[in-house]
């Protein structure tokens, strides 16, 4: 289904201006913001890669400390939320306002589920003794070390990098969910029409970016 022509076309670059990029300001602004977010995660993930490459001891194997199956499902939930986001976008671009609101609600619920699963996993890990400051003595995790399945030389680094990266990703997902709720409420009030659904597209770009970062994080933190 092609996008219907629009009369008062809000979704084009501003009229009385020299042609810059052929996209409207909000979208260009979001892409520029996402470039700065890429640099922010470069700082964090870069530090993780460098610390791990130069780590004095042997890094923890996948699925020893972190529960990979649960996180795999969590990744799948975030991918579904990306799909529902894009379905919402397709709905409004075809003029279906009710579809937009329904898909947005689905995205919010999936996103919130992802964050809560992440929160529960944090709570469980901390209780097992795996904290940002490393392995707390006399906990389940030190037994793992005792059984030789894990070296605690790199425990401090493992905790620091894991919690900082996934923590800040969770923070970005939470901000995304809050913005989605705002967009959803506005869509309920009929804020978006087929002619002007910029807000949906911009928050969609942010949401897909957060999903993209998680795809990379899931692989390099949980699987490698």
């Amino acid at each position: 289904m092609t996008h219907a022509t629009a009369t008062l076309d809000q979704m084009r670059p501003p009229v009385p201006a020299e042609p810059g990029l052929p996209i409207y300001n909000n979208k260009l602004g979001m892409w520029v913001f996402l470039a700065s977010e890429v640099m922010f995660f470069t700082g964090l993930i870069g530090a993780y890669v460098i610390l791990r490459f130069g780590a004095p001891g042997e890094w923890a194997k996948p699925n020893v400390v972190l529960n990979v199956p649960l996180t795999g499902i969590n990744t799948f939930i975030l991918i579904c939320s990306s799909v529902s986001m894009v379905k919402a976008f397709a709905a409004i671009s075809a003029g279906d306002r009710k579809g937009l609101s329904r898909w947005l609600l689905a995205t919010i619920l999936l996103g919130a589920t992802f964050v809560s699963v992440q929160g529960v996993e944090y709570w469980k890990l901390v209780h097992e003794g795996f904290t940002p400051a490393g392995f707390t003595a006399g906990s389940h995790i030190t037994e793992l070390v005792a059984q030789g399945k894990l070296s605690d030389v790199t425990g401090g680094l493992y905790g620091s990098t894991f919690f900082t990266m996934t923590g800040f990703h969770g923070f970005h997902v939470t901000c995304g969910v809050i913005c989605l709720i705002y967009v959803w409420l506005k869509s309920l009030r009929g804020g978006y029409t087929q002619q002007d659904y910029r807000g949906v597209e911009v928050i969609g770009l942010y949401w897909h970016f957060v999903d993209l970062v998680w795809i990379i994080l899931f692989t390099i933190v949980y699987l490698i």
Binding site: T2, H3, T5, A6, D9, R12, P13, P14, V15, P16, A17, E18, P19, G20, L21, P22, Y24, N25, N26, L28, G29, V32, F33, A35, S36, E37, M39, F40, F41, T42, G43, L44, G46, A47, I50, L51, G54, A55, P56, G57, P132, A133, G134, V153, T154, G155, G156, L157, G159, S160, T161, F163, T164, F168
Partner: protein, 588 residues
């Protein structure tokens, strides 16, 4: 006032129903936000100066009670005598305030906000509300940093570069809350700077007036564009690093803790990966303003516009691959040192091109030495010295001797004070009429320039000599060392010259404040400049133009052969000028 200005479109007369608060406190007008940044940053510039005077007092008169030092708390300066802990706070906070809260906001916060929409012919920034949020985040960051003086145990004390593990371990540095305040403030400033850069980039790309093609943009806008890109991509890395440092201090993480596998050099790499684009953020806007002002003062087109643009963009790219020259002696891999040495040598070339182009602009010009032009030529003269002393440090064997000595302090002050600050004096004087509708006083401006130039050199040139002698940086009391005792008279002399330099700045403060209220009413185009902003009345009204002007030529058409005046505004149409192509119709 020649006939040309009469053709300028009139300012909008629509009724302005915003309340005082909306208009001046929480304003979304890019000009008001620029002026808010101006007042805030001039305050922090003064604070940075006061900190510098205390540093100079301790170096000029080691251990003697500082006049007025009585107000300082006993833990910091008992009886006015500065203690080492306080001295290192002074050094740290002088660097932090000057770099992050004075020069950067003055150049980017004030002039990007104020000039970009005016010079490219836009009603306002692309996202006015985000622009306002950028100012108030910077205000909050400044407040947190200023508050860090008054937290228990005092402000952060690991140098403005905050090298770990000194910055990460309160037991080693003696400051716990101060370091936390520093990190939080820097993260907030990073956010503010990203929001700002986001705005400038979108505005420059999408909101240029019809006819304002990329190569008709003034060089100041080109510089602000590349600065915004550097800021957009560099500040997040600093925010990430500051967050890691904050977690090391509070949550007990081990990013920079060598005991638990953390890497100390990681902080330096992260900091300087941000740091070098940062120092180009601090100089590029100055270069842009100086290019505009020298072209105006010489009544002559800028020499080699395209090569200047390529030099600016070149600095934008090369700025990312040279950060290792701050770390030649830090235990970094020597082969990496060689790579960074070569890239650092190459990055000297764009700056050289710019200096020769400025000189080319003045060559066979018709030089009007108004105060901005004086300061701009002063910028070029002093920036050259800073740039050349940089070559000494790029040569790694020489850097082995002069790294972390006063040679480095001399270099950075020649480019930051001699460079950015002289460009700021020029910029503020030049666009003062557009901001406030009044002219700054000319004689006071000239006296201020010549005295500042004199005392600036008396303070910072001898530091090269101290650096060659091996006088280390951030030394509380140099007389501890035999070989530095001999240089104490020079430190003494530098301190006296620094006091004179500080006193001279009151001339500028007096000129600025007095002209705000009693300055001569500015005419429509006081400097007879071609920029779009001078087609507006002074001070420029909200929303700038009612109808965005159309641009027919570049910004530097001075002394056009056969033109009635020696200047030709970008927006006035010559008979044989073509209308710009209309924006493409919606394709679908």
């Amino acid at each position: 006032m020649s006939s040309l200005a009469a053709a300028a479109p009139r300012a909008p007369t629509h009724h302005d129903d915003r309340t005082f608060v909306q208009k001046y406190i929480f304003s979304t007008d890019h000009k008001i936000i620029g002026i808010q940044f101006l007042f805030l940053s001039l305050l922090f510039l003064f604070l940075g100066g006061v900190l510098a005077m205390q540093i100079r007092w301790q170096l000029g008169f080691p251990g003697q009670p500082m006049p007025g030092g009585g107000i300082l708390p006993e833990t910091m300066a008992p009886g006015g005598v500065i203690l080492p802990e306080y001295y290192i706070q002074l050094v740290t906070m002088h660097g932090t305030f000057m770099v992050f809260f004075a020069i950067m906001p003055l150049l980017v916060g004030v002039f990007a906000n104020f000039l970009i929409p005016l010079k490219i012919g836009a009603h306002d920034m692309a996202f006015p509300r985000i622009n306002m949020a950028s100012f108030w985040t910077a205000f909050l960051a400044g407040a947190v940093m200023f508050a860090s003086f008054f937290v228990p145990n005092g402000a952060a004390r690991a140098g403005w570069t905050m090298y770990a593990p000194l910055s990460a371990r309160p037991d080693l540095s003696g400051a716990d809350y101060g370091q936390i305040c520093w990190c939080i403030s820097i993260v907030l400033l990073g956010l503010s700077s990203i929001l700002g850069s986001l705005n400038y980039i979108t505005t420059i790309i999408n909101l240029r007036a019809p006819g304002m093609t990329w190569f008709r943009m003034p060089l100041s806008v080109w510089c602000l564009f590349v600065t915004a890109i550097l800021g957009l991509l560099a500040l997040p890395v600093l925010s990430g690093a500051a967050i890691m440092l904050l977690f090391d201090q509070t949550l007990g993480t081990h990013f920079f803790d060598p005991g638990a596998g953390g890497q100390v050099l990681l902080w330096q790499h992260l900091f300087w990966f941000f740091g070098h684009p940062e120092v180009y953020i601090l100089i590029l806007p100055g270069m842009g303003m100086v290019s505009d002002i020298i072209a105006n003062g010489s009544r002559k087109p800028i020499f080699g516009y395209h090569s200047m643009v390529f030099a600016i963009v070149g600095i934008g790219f090369l700025g990312w691959i040279v950060w290792g020259h701050h770390m030649f002696m830090s235990g970094m891999n020597p082969t990496l040192g060689s790579t960074f040495m070569v890239t650092t040598m190459i990055i000297a070339v764009p700056s050289a091109i710019k200096v020769f182009n400025w000189m080319g602009t003045m060559w066979r010009g018709n030089l009007h030495f108004h105060v901005p032009m004086l300061n701009a030529v002063g910028f070029v003269a002093m920036f050259v010295i800073g740039g050349l002393s940089g070559v000494f440090m790029a040569a790694t064997p020489i850097d082995m001797h002069i790294h972390d000595t006063y040679f480095i302090v001399a270099h950075l002050h020649y480019v930051l004070f001699g460079g950015s600050l002289f460009a700021l004096f020029a910029g503020i004087t030049y666009w003062f009429p557009k901001m406030f509708g009044k002219m700054m006083n000319e004689p006071i401006g000239k006296i201020h320039f010549w005295l500042t130039m004199l005392f600036f050199n008396l303070v910072f040139f001898p530091m090269h000599i101290l650096g060659m002698a091996g006088h280390m940086r951030r030394i509380y009391d140099p007389t501890q060392y035999e070989w530095l005792k001999g240089y104490q008279p020079m430190n003494h002399f530098i301190t006296l010259a620094a006091f004179a330099l500080f006193a001279t700045q009151f001339l500028f403060i007096w000129n600025f404040v007095w002209s705000l209220f009693k300055g001569r009413k500015a005419e429509q185009n006081p400097w007879r400049d071609n920029g779009l902003e001078w087609t507006l009345p002074n001070p420029a009204p909200h929303g700038n133009w009612e109808k965005v002007p159309t641009v027919y030529r570049g910004p530097y058409e001075y002394s056009l052969p056969g033109a009635p005046d020696d200047w030709y505004p970008q927006s006035s149409k010559l008979p044989n000028d073509r209308e710009p192509a209309p924006a493409p119709a919606p394709a679908h």
